[in-house]
């Protein structure tokens, strides 16, 4: 899932300066699961903004709503009647949600309440870790299901590097060496032979180096 975290309230409050009718919009999907922008967080942010305004002697209307997915126009479209009368929209979705709302409501300012951090999973309660960098060319079949792009600090394709010490990465002793994990995994699978294969340089044009990407399914296009 997409993992995000809320911006500091001290960063959000200035974004609302000068606006009187604010709508805080949550997303019930990824950012709800990572406790950043679901209905619960929307209620807290909306209440915080109302309190902050009143503490500064101002009266601001802050309403709240959460929709199923901010990253799909059909769901964002359901906000048409709700946004009426508001002069600022605060998205508690990921960066995709913010932009979908901006595209659907071109005449209204939209600001982000979250910082979108990574594609990952919850490791334990309150901790989320990165597992994918959406590089556009998956090689998990060759690496025992452990991604060297996201889990090796240098995204090496033929690791480990000389900085791997006792299974940890040289940049931080808290970080597992991705290639050490790959080695151990392949060893337990009896597939260490995979490491004999030299992986060629990656085609990064399939990643961000190729500019904004697009996926087209001709058979699904109408």
């Amino acid at each position: 899932m997409i993992v995000a975290e809320q911006k500091d309230i001290a960063e959000i409050i200035p974004m609302t300066e000068g606006y009187q009718n604010i709508l805080v919009i949550g997303c019930d999907t990824c950012v709800t699961v990572c406790l950043a922008g679901g209905a619960k967080e929307v209620a807290i942010l909306a209440c915080s903004l109302r309190l902050a305004a009143r503490a500064r002697g101002k009266k601001v209307q802050v309403d709240e709503i959460s929709i199923e997915r901010q990253c799909e126009k059909e769901f964002v479209d359901s906000l048409q009647s709700t946004v009426r009368g508001h002069d600022l929209l605060i998205s508690m979705g990921c960066g995709i949600g913010v932009q979908t709302i901006a595209e659907q409501f071109p005449n209204l300012p939209v600001v982000p309440a979250l910082n979108t951090k990574l594609l990952g999973l919850p490791e334990r309660q309150g901790v989320w870790v990165e597992r994918c960098q959406a590089c556009g060319q998956c090689i998990l079949d060759k690496t025992g299901g452990i991604c060297p792009i996201s889990r090796c600090s240098k995204s090496l394709l033929n690791g480990p590097c000389g900085g791997s010490q006792n299974g940890k990465c040289e940049i931080n002793k808290e970080i597992d060496c991705g290639w050490h994990l790959i080695y151990e995994r392949l060893k337990s699978l009896g597939r260490l032979g995979c490491l004999e294969e030299i992986m060629p340089a990656k085609d990064w044009s399939r990643s961000r180096d190729g500019g904004p990407r697009k996926v087209i399914r001709e058979d699904m296009c109408l």
Binding site: I9, K40, I44, C47, S48, R50, L51, A52, R54, A55
Partner: protein, 137 residues
């Protein structure tokens, strides 16, 4: 200035709520401006409950949890403690003094301590004055 603060005391029903009940049964008075809100566990308390209390006009919020290692739900008091810490920092950034939010550990037997804590807490909120939310409408 003659000021009687509005205070909400969130009490775990397994400890402070019973202590308050005992204090009441013994006809030991505590400030009548303290509204007690019964919780099934302090871990049930959410950030939004505290913020709403301030939004609805509270000048102070007290939260009573069971002592460490005494929670019937194992970690409810630990969760409550962390949420209070988080909420206090949030309040400060919003513009509400974090001293308006107080967190206490208490057992059901400590009814005299409950009285001391709410009386002292009441005085400390009085000295802070009305909530900034109420002062500037």
């Amino acid at each position: 200035m003659d000021f009687t603060p509005a205070i909400v005391a969130f009490c775990c029903e397994n400890s402070a709520y019973r202590a308050a009940d005992t204090a009441g049964a013994r006809q030991e008075g505590y400030p009548s401006n303290i509204s007690i809100c019964r919780l099934p566990c302090s871990g049930k308390l959410e950030v939004i409950h505290i913020l709403k209390a301030f939004e609805e006009g509270a000048d102070g919020v007290f939260v009573f949890a069971c002592h460490p290692d005494s929670c019937r739900f194992l970690l409810g008091n630990v969760r409550a403690g962390k949420r209070i810490e988080h909420t206090a920092a949030l309040l400060e950034k919003i513009g509400i003094e974090k001293e308006r939010l107080r967190f206490f550990y208490l057992s059901e037997l400590e009814w005299t301590q409950f009285l001391d804590l709410v009386r002292q807490g009441n005085e400390s909120i009085k000295s802070l004055g009305p909530s900034p939310i109420k002062v500037k409408p």
